[in-house]
Amino acid sequence: MIKLNVNGQAKEVDVDPATPILWVVRENLEMTGTKFGCGIAQCGACTVHLDGKPVRSCSTPVSQADGKAITTVEGLAEEDGTLSKVQQAWIDAQVPQCGYCQSGQIMSATALLKNNPQPTDEQINSAMAGNVCRCGMYGRIRSAIKIAAGMEQPAAETGPESTKVEA
């Protein structure tokens, strides 16, 4: 049996220590917010935090979580359900399309802002380049990160700069 700390809760799972954290979280703990995209740390959909640091859980054996705190997307909101700044910014900027990559995007962005509360575009690129979004919402992701950082205001109406529309 392996003892884990997931989103502040103690869990025990009976798994081979070589099992990637991704599958322990999704299957043994039935927490499916963390997603499988590629299995070789190339897409970032599986990003979780180990002691606050972002890792690709598809390529990290659960043995490495020994004595560490695992945080998944399900653990970002407050007890009372209040969304984190990043999550709220993601809604303000209407970021997700299909949404499949967004747990990973949010986890990477959260870690970035924790270490760097006012990131430059280059720093955003560096921190987020490992997270693929097949729906192409990178512009909105960048915007949302800046909104969460207080560097940008959300659009007055819901969504980014209201698109110019001619009648």
């Binding site: 070589a18 070789i40 890792v55 690709r56 390529s59 990290t60 054996p61 043995s63 490495q64």
Partner: protein
């Protein structure tokens, strides 16, 4: 309905891929290892020690093979297999870094001047991006020293064969 008949003629041309063939046949071969909930089957040891004296090597290599499981997402080890997401590690121990023809190593690794001694491997696997900044090995760091040792033992055993 005259409109419909003309329209129906167009239907086969529609690329609606719902067309499947006859009900799928039964499996050609079905191996039932165990039923769900049944206890695991007794697993044979990965390497049977055939001759005394080789006992000392078999267990750590088996442990290393098990530790290598997470690496196998990107690395193959069969002598004649092509590299995949990462380079084939068959003859890696003792070789210079960036040696394989069939893998697009980063400039950083190619020009690192590293030869994969056990010590170099240990340092690299512990923190690839720290040891060789610019490496394309973005995952797979092994923080546990014992695990790294096991993996290296396993890799070394490959070169020996």
């Amino acid at each position: 309905m005259r409109n419909l008949s003309a329209i129906l003629a167009v239907l086969p041309a529609l690329a609606l891929a719902a067309c499947s063939s006859d009900p799928a046949p039964e499996p050609v071969e079905q191996i039932i290892v165990r039923e769900p909930g049944a206890p695991p089957v007794q697993q044979a040891a990965a390497e049977e020690p055939a001759v005394s004296g080789e006992n000392d090597e078999a267990a750590p290599i088996a442990a290393g093979k098990s530790a290598f499981a997470i690496c196998s997402g990107c690395h193959v080890v069969d002598a004649d297999a092509s590299s995949t997401a990462g380079p084939n590690l068959h003859a890696s121990v003792g070789s210079p870094a960036g040696a394989r023809e069939d893998f697009a190593y980063s400039e950083a690794l190619k020009s690192s001047g590293i030869t994969w001694t056990e010590a170099e491997l240990d340092a690299y696997i512990a923190d690839p991006a720290g040891k060789v900044p610019g490496t394309t090995m973005v995952a797979g760091a092994v923080q546990d020293a014992e695990q790294r040792k096991a993996i290296i033992t396993y890799l070394t055993s490959l070169s020996a064969t």
